[in-house]
Symmetry: C2
Subunit: 572 residues, 2 copies
């Protein structure tokens, strides 16, 4: 039983009315037909597919989940059929280029599709979710020969793909990876080593699996610059099985619908993708898109939890509500109780605001790839580079924390499995970890992106957003922007004297940026015609009252850190 309903009308409102996507995208030569009608039509079809095919498999994804026996992985009943239907309907190639057999639609549509899919069934969605990064890697770095053999099958989703990065001793620090790639006379390589945490490393969903593997050629330098990227398929072209053994699947807190594999490469046949020593670079091409995917998982999971909690709160009656909220019976639906209303409105404030930011970032991703003007592409690229780590961290934090708040609405019933809400909390927890932990996102933002140019890039993003704002209506938000500008300069100055400060301040800084952006998102919603209904005004009020004021808390912490750091160091 899964009651998730893709919120197509609301997504459409945010995408088309608030963000005007149907006007922006058709100005690009690549998307002249992607107007409001087409976007709406695709969203509606996606919503139908997700609701009908993927959502009903949510519970079996948790139990029985995936099973492992003798090196083989059996996915939950129905998963393979659903994947076949997904592939055959052409959903994997929605945003792939027409020359690769794709439909050439904007990335932002793929993003919204994956928000729905993750909400409906996070475990199942992991499988196709990995295709898109592999497609980008291969497309941009693969040789013509490799592309001819693998790109169409990966683009269409006929074959699924993996990213084999982590090793037991090399997680956040991939530079420690030891897997060896030994060159052969015919130009191929033989891979030797063990990779862990490989999502979809083995399964029964497709006839073949295309593994992209980080490994080190003999004599390569230590550290990240010695890593190259290789492609190793589960089955070779002559049909023989490549020696890539799934040794076990992990027993995890959640996400039981996605097999997390330990893969042993035992002289596996492989070909290099891109230049030697440029393995991490080959992956950067898809990093923003992959992280934005994870951010949308967080939003989807939060919405799925919200929908469950809201449905329960409408039905469940306990105690009489206070004052004017009181009904006439012995007990009111708990949705009338302020304690429950507060949770529902606040989590919706997060979900809607984060949607606006994630969709906007999806649009910028499309602009960065397809805008004819190089300057506009660069601006869009800057947006993606700065905002993506913020969204990855904030959306996944809220996906977990917000799902847990929604669980609270159920009282004791939330803690038992039959309602399905606790599964969402467990499933959501991993999103804070994978694709770069949220702590690494924060370091990426502050230490690698904001400080190196003295904060100029971030200030430019704020300037762009401020143009939409009104000095009077948005006075509080503009003051937050000013405070963020000031603390950015202060951090840049203080970090010159203290090279650990950026690492100590990173999490609070990311959070402050996220809340400032969220303030912009809610301002954008509130000024859109159609947002005057209770559907939007209730979360808008919760955003202003309960969510956005955390900005001042983060600024306060950051100011204390800047003020105390220099004396502390110089005294040492």
């Amino acid at each position: 039983m899964n009651d998730y309903r893709p919120p197509v009308d609301e997504q459409r409102f945010l995408l088309l009315d608030v963000l005007r996507t149907g006007e922006i995208l058709p100005t690009l030569p690549a998307f002249t037909e992607a107007d409001a009608d087409l976007l709406t039509q695709v969203l509606e079809e996606a919503g139908k597919f997700v609701g009908k095919v993927v959502s009903p498999l949510q519970a079996v994804g948790d139990a029985p989940g995936c099973r492992f026996e003798d090196g083989r992985v059996t996915t939950p009943p129905g998963f393979a059929d659903a994947y076949r239907a997904f592939w055959q309907a052409g959903w994997p190639s929605l945003a792939c280029a027409p020359e690769d057999g794709g439909q050439g639609l904007p990335w932002v549509l793929e993003g919204v599709l994956y928000e729905m899919l993750s909400a409906a069934n996070h475990g199942w969605t992991m499988a196709p979710g990995l295709l898109h990064g592999a497609y980008e890697c291969l497309k941009h770095h693969g040789s013509e020969e490799l592309k001819a053999r693998y790109l169409p099958k990966v683009a269409s989703g006929e074959w699924l793909a993996t990213m084999c990065l982590t090793e037991p001793h090399a997680g956040s620090d991939l530079g420690l990876a030891r897997t060896q790639a030994v060159p052969q006379a015919d130009g191929s390589f033989r891979l030797r080593g063990t990779k862990i945490f490989i999502s979809g490393g083995e399964h029964d969903l497709t006839d073949n699996i295309v593994h992209l593997v980080l490994a080190r050629e003999p004599g390569a330098p230590a550290g990240p610059k010695g890593l190259s990227l290789f492609l190793a398929p589960k089955f070779l072209e002559d049909g023989t099985r490549n020696p890539i053994a799934c040794e076990r699947i992990e027993e995890k807190m959640g996400l039981h619908g996605s097999p997390t594999c330990v893969l042993r490469f035992d002289e596996a046949v492989a070909w290099r993708v891109g230049e030697p020593g440029r393995g991490l670079n080959a992956m950067f091409v898809m990093m923003n898109a992959a992280r934005l995917h994870v951010a949308l998982q967080g939003i989807g999971l939060l919405d799925a939890a919200w929908q469950k909690a809201n449905a329960y709160a409408q039905e469940r009656r306990q105690m009489r509500a206070p004052g004017a909220l009181r009904g006439t019976g012995a007990a009111d639906p708990i949705v009338r109780h302020p304690a429950v209303r507060r949770i529902l409105d606040t989590e919706r404030a997060w979900a809607d605001g984060l949607r606006v930011l994630a969709y906007r970032t999806g649009i910028e991703l499309d602009l960065a790839r397809h805008h004819p003007d190089a300057q506009r592409r660069a601006t869009a690229q800057q947006w993606c580079s700065l905002v993506t780590p913020v969204l990855k961290a904030v959306c996944t934090e809220q996906g977990f924390a917000g799902a847990s708040r929604c669980l609270q609405v159920f009282g004791g019933h939330g803690y038992v499995k039959e309602w399905g809400i606790e599964q969402i909390v467990r499933d959501a927890r991993v999103t804070m970890i994978y694709e770069g932990t949220n702590e690494i996102q924060a370091i990426d933002l502050l230490a690698r992106k904001v400080l190196p140019d003295g904060g100029q890039g971030l200030l430019a993003v704020l300037d762009t957003l401020a143009r939409d704002l009104d000095a009077q209506r948005d006075a509080a938000l503009l003051a937050r922007f000013d405070a963020l500008r000031a603390i950015t300069r202060e951090l840049a100055a203080a970090s010159a004297h203290d090279d650990t400060l950026p690492y100590e301040a990173a999490d609070d800084y990311l959070r402050a940026v996220g809340l400032a952006l969220l303030g912009w998102a809610w301002s954008a919603i509130e000024r859109t015609p159609g947002a005057e209904t209770a559907r939007w005004t209730a979360p808008a009020r919760a955003a202003q009252l309960r969510v956005l004021p955390e900005f001042e808390l983060r600024l306060d912490i950051l100011r204390t850190q800047c003020a105390t750091t220099t004396p502390r160091r110089s005294a040492a």
Copy 2:
């Protein structure tokens, strides 16, 4: 494998050095011998027992967990032996009165014991944890005949007990309970109805189980005033099985070591405990102690998670730490990385500060029961009444959220079961729900306890605490106390015009009170000789920098609510 080590030295420091328990308790006639030596000795023995007997059973408590077949519950391997050892060593009766066969030691010691037990094995600890409320209920409300038959076995722990309150349609609102109690000619009753969420409702740990059951006599008024409390044993005195059937155990998110039962009472023989219609009152006698128990579970689980994360962070090497924190190898232990250090210091700031508050509340509970002076008993009772709901909510929130932060230290390894950290997160989640959800604690605090006397009781607690503070050293904290006094008065005034305001403001208010109290706790630690070492200064700095400033956020939200509520209502 469970590596939890009861932190006896640190608990002793907080209990004896910071809170001077060894000087306070012996002034009471009931505890003349409970000096520092005796308290230390009991703590050390408790630590040994917990570490040796209970802690090793943590993993089996999760899997296989409890099994259910044909109405019987089998607890995990080793649970029954450990319980027998616990009972035979006299631990259940630590704080029971000597006249009931107990050891007559202070409640606060039992509290610390349960912190250790919950940290070591939350699931196992649920079984004896329920004894103490049953003991208090029976002792204060049972007839002499009932007490003669059941009190000694409950006090000693030879028989375990349950509290049967919840029904499918009656959770937070017990007044909706429908279970019937039909009087018999011999003065006994027959119970008919179904109770759910009964922890330890059926198991193989003891020869008998004593159920305390809320039910309604024929003709009793609707609502909470029609509820009486009844005692129904699993086995009657003649050895026959009372018709109380365990229909199933719940499949839960965690806490698999504790069977959560659906019990069907099918004309079960029972006796009333206390007066008719006073069932909820009979339970109030143990409510503060029971909620404080749950608060200590939160602290214990947080500490257990912290210990795991700290151990992992010392061993795991990834990347070089920044600046002066950098070591000499290719990768530093992650404990050197600020992102990890921040989590560890911040969670310790929570755990230590909350310990001080929980132990202090335990001492007040002892004073409320045993101080010869009625005025002092009343002050102590007021402390317990006001601070207990705050601690129940704040400690359990942090038990879950903090354990999740500690999981983050493990990266992907935290999400797989073998490290045991994800079990703590799952186990901890329930503490935010049971014994009154955290939202109900907030309503209890603000609407039922603070506002009815215009905030006078809370202001008196703050006055007492302020006496320990120094105008200069604690200036920031004293300003927070002032702000809390002002908002309390403001809420009292605004609530006179708006009877839903207390319910809307309750959660932020509870949180503000908790943070103010936590500030006092850290001030108490910091001024204690012995707290100058890094063990205490690192979390002290984290408390001041990262934890306590949330107070201003909550005040800001509360001020906005007070300022906007009256116009909003009068416009409606």
